[in-house]
């Protein structure tokens, strides 16, 4: 289990990743601060385009042009990854920082048996060359550790012979092969069936308690956040609008966007066939973001001040930050809307 949880293993400070498109600059990530603690999971939630995936890619330094990290620090155990050369950074990837993606179908090379990426992973970060037989034995051990039945035989299978859930288990095995300090999991179960999703996440929780890996889990699914995360950051239009413990996010959310998201999800424990409280309107065009709060056009609590100033992310409780001037109390039913959508 986690050692001391006072020092974050990964700290993202004032990260700005902008995309320089023909139409103009898109501030996909616009001043984001996040902390991942050893043995804990930070959930980053938000809707398409909020910048959650770009944040993950930035932490790996895998942002492709026209995107560029224009400001900020990414501190892994205190060392700023943005100051490293590309060669030094490639040594950190895999060894200290692992990543798994949504698409287990496309992240494995179809031409090689699945032992191949595993053996590559276990050999990659060693000074001395590892005998092939040892690497194979290690690959088989890793397959067994992620619950692949008959690992000796399965190691020689090709990706197309395996189901989506199996492939995602293999990706997890590859990502965790070097016991990285941090794992970035970007929608790791979105492409999978719900029963398989439950098994993959239970596997990740077990592995985390064994290895003490800090996980940054990017997802749009609030149910997964509640079940898997210790702390949560809610993103909207490139900014973190609320950050707190999982308890505070679900029970005492103070940002109207977080509150709206929680109300909008159909739940088994709520009455059926009733209209769901919605968030009116849609996300602003990233090329024409409004002055002031970026949520103002969809917010029931909007004031004149919200249209002029951007609310800073400020403490509203112990370990609980929200970027809202109003900070309304959470109610189960939606407030009447007065913002111009």
């Amino acid at each position: 289990m986690p050692q001391s949880v006072t020092e974050p293993v990964l700290q993202i400070k004032n990260l700005r990743t902008h995309f320089f498109t023909d139409q103009g600059v898109v501030p996909a990530v616009d001043g984001v601060d996040l902390e991942v603690y050893p043995g804990q999971t930070l959930g980053v939630v938000g809707e398409s385009g909020c910048g959650k995936s770009v944040t993950g890619m930035s932490a790996m330094r895998l942002v492709a042009p026209p995107g560029r990290i224009v400001d900020g620090e990414i501190l892994l155990r205190g060392e700023n990854l943005l100051k490293l050369s590309e060669v030094e950074m490639s040594h950190r990837r895999g060894k200290d920082l692992g990543m798994i993606f949504q698409e287990p179908m496309t992240s494995l090379d179809p031409l090689y048996p699945i032992c191949d990426p595993l053996m590559e992973a276990v050999q990659a970060h060693r000074k001395e060359k590892m005998p092939k037989a040892d690497a194979m034995a290690e690959a088989v051990r890793l397959l067994a550790s992620v619950g692949i039945p008959d690992p000796e035989r399965r190691a020689r299978s090709y990706p197309h012979e395996m189901s989506g859930g199996m492939r995602q288990r293999i990706m997890i095995a590859v990502a965790l092969s070097c016991r990285p300090a941090v794992l970035i999991a970007d929608e790791p179960t979105t492409a999978l069936d719900v029963t398989v999703q439950a098994q993959i996440l239970s596997l990740l929780r077990d592995l985390q308690s064994e290895t003490g890996t800090g996980i940054l889990m990017i997802t749009h699914n609030l149910g997964l956040v509640a079940e898997n995360c210790h702390t949560v950051a809610v993103m909207y239009a490139g900014k973190v609008v609320e950050k707190a413990s999982v308890q505070d996010i679900f029970k005492r959310p103070r940002h109207p966007y977080t509150q709206g998201l929680l109300r909008a999800v159909p739940r088994l424990d709520h009455p059926a066939k009733q209209p769901l409280p919605t968030i009116p309107g849609m996300v602003p065009n990233p090329l024409r973001l409004p002055v002031g709060c970026r949520f103002q056009t969809r917010c029931a609590f909007v004031t004149d001040r919200c249209r002029q100033e951007q609310p800073p992310l400020e403490a509203v409780g112990t370990g609980h930050l929200a970027a809202c001037f109003v900070q309304p109390e959470y109610t189960a039913s939606a407030p009447a809307h007065k913002g111009g959508a």
Partner: protein
């Protein structure tokens, strides 16, 4: 309750592929003997994981694909075997909305022309068409000033509204919604679900709501049919499906749904066996079922085990009481 659609013994087998050596793999039994009724004015939810055959079922009913065998009656009239011309009036009564709001709209047509296509069979004058297009745009909550725009100018949620407007253009009685919100963000998903609920109330639509997300299906449906590998394993009122599920697969599915409440510990699913493995003789869920016995090598029929509650399990009434503590706390 009056039946609108009656499906009996519906089967769709896709032929197996031939291999290099001239062997043919066995046919894929996408839909394997479905019998169910959709009553007028209700929403019947069809839920299942990938490969369960739920989308194929929707496509068979409106004859986008042809069945291998079986019967589908619309108000008592057999649809399978009708010629194109004979099918035409039923094509106006039944409409489908697809998952992908990006792929299901012609990118070269303006919104008003997309809807106008649907109006054709109604033989309206040009003036009437324009009025009707305006009305339909208003019904689905789109700005009428956007009528001359192209699909790419709209967001995913708005495109799904265009797809719904097009489906409503023929004044249908029956709407098949095939994963209509799976591609949408949470806040937009709620808007589209509300629109469907509202349209059903206003227009008295009968809806077949197909989705993989049981929480969404439960929210939208009066009754739910749970599918697994081409079969209906359970069919009941939606409340009964999640409060008193009488098939082990339904229970597995329910336990796997994450609930947005941090006080609830995720249930232990490690005992639930993994992926859907090939099926042999007997019950389709046999290989994954914690309760399976030798008796399960005989295929269990879908039987009414409580009033209005059907289960295809030999042990439906003997299963331990189901209690999901996750739904009673908090």
């Amino acid at each position: 309750m009056e039946a609108l659609i009656e499906i009996t013994d519906l089967v769709k087998h896709f032929p197996g592929r031939s291999t290099l050596l001239g062997k043919t793999s066995p046919p894929v039994k996408a839909v394997d003997g479905l019998t169910f009724t959709v009553y007028k004015g209700e929403t019947l939810g069809l839920v299942g994981e990938s490969g369960s055959g739920k989308s194929t079922t929707g496509r068979l009913i409106i004859r986008l694909i042809e069945p291998t065998s079986g019967s589908c009656k619309y108000e008592g009239k057999e649809l399978f075997g009708l010629s194109r011309a004979e099918m035409l009036p039923y094509r106006q009564k039944m409409q489908i909305v697809f998952q992908d709001p990006y792929g299901s709209l012609n990118p070269r047509m303006t919104v008003s022309n997309i809807i106008r296509e649907g109006l054709e069979p109604r033989k309206l004058t040009e003036q009437e068409q324009e009025t009707e297009i305006t009305r339909l745009l208003e019904v689905v909550g789109l700005r009428t000033s956007h009528r001359n725009r192209y699909p790419h100018e709209f967001s995913g949620g708005q495109r799904q509204r265009i797809g719904i407007a097009r489906a409503l253009a023929v004044n249908p009685e029956f709407l098949i919604a095939d994963e209509p919100v799976s591609a949408l963000d949470v806040s937009i998903q709620a808007q589209v679900l509300n629109l469907l609920l509202e349209l059903q109330q206003k227009l008295g639509l009968t809806i077949l709501f197909i989705a993989h997300d049981l929480a969404v299906v439960r929210h939208m449906s009066d009754r739910i049919a749970v599918m697994y590998l081409g079969k209906i394993v359970e069919l009941a009122d939606s409340e009964a499906i999640y409060l008193d599920p009488l098939h082990p697969y339904t229970r597995t599915l329910l336990r796997a749904i994450p609930i947005p409440n941090p006080d609830i510990r995720p249930p232990d699913t490690s005992a639930d066996p993994g992926a859907q493995s090939g099926r042999g003789e007997g019950c389709v869920f046999r290989n994954r079922c914690p309760h399976s016995t030798d008796k399960c090598s005989i295929e269990p029929p879908l039987l009414e085990v409580k009033p209005g509650h059907f289960s295809a399990c030999h042990y439906a009434v003997e299963l331990p009481d189901y209690h999901d503590e996750r739904l009673t706390t908090g």
